[in-house]
């Protein structure tokens, strides 16, 4: 069992590494292209929130297929990291942020002139496949002895806190109505939120790190973006009641000093197109018109 878990984890890592290496190579290529002058291939650099990694990977292949001679280079990091890099002059063509705030900051720095939301992402509760704490709903989260969340300074951590607040209000008013979780005196230890906070053992700076802790079975439960829970991940997803879910709004904008504004616009159009939206939905995002 451990070896299987290990293999799946290693496979995920390898994939991420290959991607990262690809990014690095492309960066080297970019530098090379800059030094040698013209190059037949157009390189479109997309700086995107790490939660978009998988969906944008699919869209990248699609875009490159539809636009021969164009190489899309993905640079994935936390939105706040990308924001700081952009504020300090990092080159690129498109910026996709996991929330409006970081996009606003980049606009204030004069790097993006126009932007718009293109998708929403909800949260999900994840547990290891063997589910050691026997959690079947958000309400049962306090059963976990070790909970890992995103640090409140990053968007996922902020949304998680908002979710816990909402759930707290809801469960404390309705306890007993929702079969399971808080029944049997589990409310003794305080409110839902306080119980969860008590069991938090780590506040991680990004979703992938949070997920890794669950995949390795070190955390009994964690809250991540739904879009991060792909089939390749060795975790079980437990849906969060739609009424409690807080959605992250993803924003995209073209950098004002983009060298290929025309290609960049085509990329942004792909995001809004129905095939683009379909890919995003496959990866756990919610289309904007669905709400």
């Amino acid at each position: 069992m451990m070896s299987e878990r290990l293999q799946r984890f290693a496979a995920g890592r390898r994939l991420a590494r290959r991607r990262r290496r690809g990014g690095l190579l492309a960066l080297v290529g970019l530098l090379g292209a800059g030094a040698c002058g013209d190059r037949s291939q157009t390189v479109l650099t997309v700086l995107a929130a790490s939660s978009l990694t998988d969906a944008f990977g699919v869209l990248e292949r699609r875009f490159e297929g539809e636009h021969p001679g164009t190489d899309v280079v993905m640079i994935h990091a936390g939105s706040q990291v990308l924001r700081v890099q952009l504020e300090h002059g990092a080159p690129g063509d498109v910026f996709a942020s996991a929330n409006a705030e970081h996009m606003q900051a980049v606009m204030a720095a004069g790097r993006v002139a126009q932007e718009h939301p293109f998708a929403r992402g909800g949260l999900a509760l994840v547990v290891p496949p063997d589910n050691p704490a026997g959690i079947e709903s958000l309400e049962q989260l306090p059963r976990a002895s070790r909970v890992v969340l995103g640090v409140p300074e990053v968007p996922v951590g902020r949304y998680t806190q908002a979710l816990l607040e909402q759930a707290d209000r809801y469960y404390n008013n309705h306890s007993g109505l929702q079969g399971g979780g808080l029944q049997g005196g589990s409310l003794q230890g305080g409110s839902f939120r306080a119980q969860v906070q008590e069991r938090v053992v780590s506040l991680e700076p990004n979703v992938r790190l949070v997920l890794a802790k669950v995949e390795l079975g070190e955390a009994d439960a964690a809250i991540v973006y739904r879009s991060d829970v792909t089939s390749a991940r060795a975790v079980t997803m437990i849906p969060i009641p739609a009424s409690l879910d807080v959605a992250a709004e993803y924003h995209v904008g073209i950098l004002v000093d983009s060298e290929h504004p025309h290609v960049a616009r085509q990329w942004v159009e792909l995001l809004g197109s129905s095939p683009g939206q379909a890919v995003l939905q496959e990866h756990g995002f919610v289309s904007l018109d669905d709400r």
């Binding site: 451990m2 936390g78 700081v84 890992v148 300074e153 506040l203 700076p205 390795l216």
Partner: protein, 277 residues
């Protein structure tokens, strides 16, 4: 004639110029980021950073865990280095190479490896449970990434100990332990202290392995580098000021270690002079 020599000297100097320039360039590259960090924060911001709720717990935790990990490395690493330096066999060479492995492995990979060894599903779990998310994890991560720097330096130091010196000590009636403690250690002391300072500095800056293996929780596993990263996610200015606090602490300690080393060397020299007389 002198003019010729002068011009030859001048030509030599001119020829050396590019090399000197390269050296200066490297030095500037090393120092410039630190200067930029220092200039980015006003004294007021630095003071505010000290009062940031994340800083004092993280600083305390960092100092506590690095002191402990340095202690572990000194106690266990010194005999190991001695054995490596004194043994001729291929086993010793193998050990020497493997000890240095953590230097070339990316810290994040070390973190994953530690998760697999000391995690819930690791081979040690039946006996010690999971150490992940505990202070033990912080300590282990620091020891693993930092110990090689000490052992490497100590091995080099012990190799510089003259065999004859030890032999003389033994013929004068010293036990092998006495010969080690009173001859080998004093001779290798500069290397031991240099290695210890480097080891401590590496432990203090340790980030990747700790983040993966120990997680990040205020007051428990969030050391200074993790606190800097956590604040960076929120507010860059605070992160810079917090980083500056760490920088000052590290600088202070390295300067103190250097002064201590010089003082020890001087007192050792004067003690040696006393014996000679």
């Amino acid at each position: 004639m002198t003019g010729e020599r002068l011009s030859r000297g001048l030509r030599g100097g001119l020829r050396a110029l590019p090399v000197v320039g390269l050296g200066i360039g490297l030095w500037v590259l090393l120092v410039l980021p630190v200067v930029a960090l220092a200039l980015a924060s006003s004294p007021g911001e630095l003071w505010d950073a000290l009062g940031h709720p994340k800083v004092l717990p993280a600083l305390g935790l960092s100092l506590q865990t690095t002191a402990l990990s340095l202690g572990v490395v000194l106690v266990a690493g010194t005999p190991l280095a001695w054995w490596i330096a004194r043994s001729r066999g291929s086993v010793a060479r193998l050990v020497e190479i493997t000890v240095e492995l953590p230097i070339v492995i990316p810290p994040a990979v070390i973190g994953i490896a530690l998760l697999l060894v000391f995690g819930r599903h690791g081979p040690l779990a039946p006996w010690i449970g999971s150490l992940v998310f505990t202070r033990w994890a912080v300590l282990i991560a620091q020891v693993v990434v930092a110990a090689p720097f000490y052992v490497q330096s100590a091995v080099a130091g012990f190799r510089g100990v003259d065999d004859d010196l030890l032999l003389v000590a033994r013929t004068l009636g010293a036990t092998s332990r006495q010969a080690f403690l009173r001859v080998a250690v004093p001779v290798a002391l500069p290397a031991l202290l240099g290695g210890a300072a480097l080891c401590w500095a590496r432990a203090l800056g340790e980030f990747g392995a700790t983040l993966l293996f120990a997680g990040s929780y205020e007051g428990k596993t969030q050391t200074m580098p993790l606190a800097i990263y956590a604040t960076f996610e929120g507010d860059l200015r605070v992160a810079i000021a917090v980083a500056l606090v760490l920088l000052l602490v590290a600088l202070l300690t390295l300067v103190m270690a250097r002064a201590g080393r010089r003082w020890l060397a001087r007192s050792a020299a004067s003690a040696g002079g006393g014996h000679g007389r």
